[in-house]
């Protein structure tokens, strides 16, 4: 009974492990310039980031301009987390 109970999770884990290993093998090599992630918008950013934004640091141009929504969301998450933590910490000493 207990062996059968342990067998199911082990089989599930093995199955997930096989799927994940197959997915990792199919991934492009590390730093491959032909990887799909490097062929979509990256060449355009590299070619036109300076003339479009006037900013020499391409990382900042992508971070704040092209992916501005992402950074705004990031800042909002940090703000919300910070305010939540501070609301727990502030004024505990007086209580």
């Amino acid at each position: 009974m207990t062996r059968a109970k342990h067998l199911v999770p082990v089989l599930v884990l093995l199955g997930i492990g096989v799927i994940l290993t197959m997915a990792v093998i199919d991934m492009p090599a590390f730093g491959d310039p032909e990887a799909p992630a490097h062929r979509h918008v990256a060449p355009r950013y590299i070619a036109r980031a300076y003339e479009e934004t006037g900013v020499t640091n391409m990382v900042t141009a992508v971070l704040i301009d092209y992916r501005g929504y992402d950074t705004l969301g990031e800042l909002t998450v940090i703000f919300a987390a910070g305010v939540a933590v501070l609301s727990l910490l502030v004024g505990r000493k007086t209580r």
């Binding site: 479009e52 900013v55 020499t56 640091n57 900042t60 301009d65 501005g68 800042l75 501070l86 910490l89």
Partner: protein, 140 residues
Amino acid sequence: MTTIVIKTIARVLVPFLQLFGFYIIVHGPVSPGGGFQGGVIVGASMILLALSYDLSSAEDRASHKVRIIMDSTGALLFAGIGLLCLLVGGVFLEYGIIPLPMAPAEVRGLMILLVGVAIGIHIMALAASLFLHLAEEHDT
């Protein structure tokens, strides 16, 4: 616990640390760095001050109220610049549309700098706040 050696080194170090942090924030558009990294360095200078002196001397430089105001200002400034683009007829965060007497590319560069400063203000206040309030509990 803190000796005169630590206090002197911290006193000499803190202004340079803050200057370095502001340099990293303002130089975000031209060199590696930006609001997040520079903000954390400026926040760390307040942590150094609190560790080497005491909490109240750090609290004197940046009180709880000032930190909360800076924290909110940074987030509001970023969202405000995004909304400004909306007001002048563009889409949200489309910096190039803001009507300034410059080329659109330069306006975008300027707004990238402003947003970087906003992120820096936000992060420096938050980094200092988290440490000072956590330390407050053990400082009895």
